[in-house]
């Protein structure tokens, strides 16, 4: 107690000297470096915008050309189908890899090894040549004459199907590793707690393990979706009419290669930007409970910014974000 009093006495006479302003360090290099970067960027923009070899009118025109728009839709369709099917496949492969059955886990390991170890471009071309390898495709029981269904390979595996197949099978290998990492990240105690309450293995997977694994799975899967969207351009080698192929087809006729590449790039940027929105909200959805407070959504942040600019009620307390979900 005497220590407290002593401190109180010592502080009192000096109180007025402590009433000073704290001035932050001035950082001139911040301003200088920013100015240099801005100058370089402006120079580059100027050189592009005033370049007589770039036909800006053509860019504007081809941006909404029906063939380009068709290409955009096909790109989105291929991305969607390949991502959905590959994710389902990835869960199966990850489950096989994690299973205690040595045959299942080795087959899964081999699958990942083969599809990750060879270039995607090579796989796409290979699937395009499938008709040379197998003239007919059939569904039946191996090593018997029992056939349920059969079709001519070249009729069934069009360039588009071959392309989707190649992207899907390749992606499944990558995604299965992401899913596996997500499953491993869930504490073993979670399964035990679920079992001890009488939950079946399937129910436990669906309601307890998967939602927690999703927290780890979603961010890399967002990246994979964006990669997939861009990788669809590789299908140009087997003449699938997605946006990049459409752009090259048009430019081979009018010789405006650069303009059409810019058109395609603008569309890719637009599509990848839009894709990151659902990812953000999915991350929030599956992040519930993982930290004490979720960060506000951009929308909530905007509202807060406006609320704090106006004199009036203070911005909502942090915990508001949790109850708002």
């Amino acid at each position: 107690m005497t220590a407290v009093e002593a401190r109180g006495v010592a502080l009192a006479p000096e109180a007025t000297d402590d009433d000073v302003r704290a001035i932050p360090l001035r950082r001139p290099w911040r301003w200088i470096s920013a100015a240099v970067v801005l100058l370089l960027a402006a120079g580059f923009a100027y050189s592009v915008l005033t370049n007589p070899n770039i036909d800006f009118a053509a860019i504007g025109q081809f941006l909404v050309d029906p063939r380009i728009i068709d290409g955009v839709w096909l790109t989105l369709l291929i991305t969607l189908v390949a991502m959905v099917v590959s994710t389902v496949l990835a869960v199966v492969i990850a489950a096989m890899r994690l299973s205690s059955n040595p045959v299942l886990s080795s087959v899964a390991w081999f699958y990942v090894w083969a599809f990750r170890g060879t270039p995607l471009l090579v796989q796409i071309v290979l699937w395009g040549y499938l008709g040379l390898l197998y003239e007919k495709l059939s569904i039946g029981i191996p090593f018997t004459d029992i056939v349920f269904w059969q079709a001519d390979t070249n009729l069934l595996i069009t360039a588009m199907v071959a392309g989707i197949l190649a992207l899907t099978l390749n992606q499944a290998a990558y995604s299965s590793e992401i899913v596996r990492a997500g499953m491993i990240s869930v504490d073993e105690g979670q399964r035990e707690a679920a079992y001890s309450l009488g939950m079946s293995p399937l129910y436990t997977f669906r309601r307890v393990l998967l939602p927690q694994a999703m927290r780890v799975i979603i961010p890399p899967m967002g990246n994979e979706t964006i990669s997939m969207l861009k990788n669809t351009s590789l299908l140009s080698v087997i003449a699938v009419l997605e946006i990049y192929t459409q752009a090259t087809v048009i430019s081979s006729q009018n010789l405006k290669q650069v303009e059409l590449l810019i058109v395609a790039s603008i569309w890719y940027l637009l599509m990848t930007s839009i894709l990151s929105v659902p990812q953000y909200y999915l991350e929030r959805r599956f992040g519930r409970g993982s930290s004490r407070n979720l960060p506000p959504t951009p929308f909530q942040r905007l509202r807060q910014a406006f609320a704090s600019r106006r004199p009036g009620p203070a911005p909502a307390p942090e915990t508001k974000a949790v109850s708002a979900v």
């Binding site: 001890s196 309450l197 009488g198 939602p211 927690q212 519930r288």
Partner: protein
């Protein structure tokens, strides 16, 4: 009853009560390591049994065999007249399907050392999940019951909190409420207070004491000798996968017959 070969004084606290749990000659190995050697034990209905023993003596394993989180290599575990995890066919017993085992586990609540609450669900959602999802209880009824249980463990104001927003002691009390929500006949506790800061232990033990007073049959692994002395009807001392000594707390704790029991009690005091 001749197979129950624990020690002389076992269960005379409630001799007349029917055993809710009968463990008969249970054996269990992990690889070459035999963790349970011929363990036999009876737990009368409405009584509290405390399992004591040094680390690695097989207490957790025994507890986990009772709700078949671990399979056994031999012997029998019977809860309320029903063989757990197996069905009798001829001389041997055969393991049940996961679905049948899940049904049996609904009757047996378990509380873990590390709480194991579901982190993506609020306290209330943790409690409601199993009654609604697997027992098919209407959601409104389950929520009402969960709210009542939260009140009973002293956490009525924390229904909307996620586990990460609760202290260890609060999490453990939610975990107890979650286990109780399925209306179990038997509660298993595996060192429920070992992961808690000392000042939080009391709240959890209070909840368990109340549960015991309400007549719940409980098997508790704990190093809290005070709890064992005050609440247990039977104390079982295990070492090296066998029951060394079992009986009333005042006998086993204050007048242990075996040297191993004495050494252990000396070490935890």
């Amino acid at each position: 009853m001749s197979t129950i070969t624990t020690t002389r004084t076992a269960q005379d606290a409630a001799v007349d009560a029917r055993p809710l749990v009968e463990i008969r000659r249970v054996r269990k190995s992990f690889g070459a390591h035999q963790v349970l050697r011929d363990v036999s034990l009876a737990v009368p209905e409405g009584t509290v049994t405390v399992l004591l023993g040094p680390s690695g003596s097989g207490k957790s394993t025994l507890l986990r065999c009772i709700n078949h989180l671990e399979s056994i290599d031999g012997g029998r575990i019977i809860v309320d007249g029903e063989l757990i995890g197996y069905r009798q066919a001829g001389h041997d017993i055969h393991e049940m399907t996961p679905k049948q085992i899940a049904r049996q586990r609904r009757e047996i609540g378990m509380v873990f050392q590390r709480f194991n609450l579901f982190p993506h669900m609020t306290a209330l959602e943790n409690i409601v999940e199993a009654p609604v999802g697997i027992a098919g209880m209407p959601r409104a009824k389950a929520r009402a019951k969960a709210t009542e249980l939260l009140d009973r463990v002293g956490l009525a104001d924390f229904a909307g909190h996620y586990p990460a927003q609760l202290s260890g002691g609060q999490q453990q009390r939610v975990a107890i409420a979650r286990a109780l929500a399925m209306g179990p006949k038997l509660m298993l506790f595996d060192e429920p207070t070992s992961a808690l800061d000392p000042e939080l232990v009391g709240d959890v033990l209070d909840v368990m004491r109340e549960l015991a007073n309400d007549g719940m049959t409980m098997i508790v692994v704990t190093h809290e000798i005070g709890f064992a002395r005050g609440v247990a009807d039977q104390v079982v001392f295990m070492d090296g996968g066998v029951v060394v000594e079992a009986g009333r707390p005042e006998d086993v704790i204050d007048r242990p017959q075996r040297q191993r029991t004495r050494d252990f009690l000396e070490s935890v005091r």
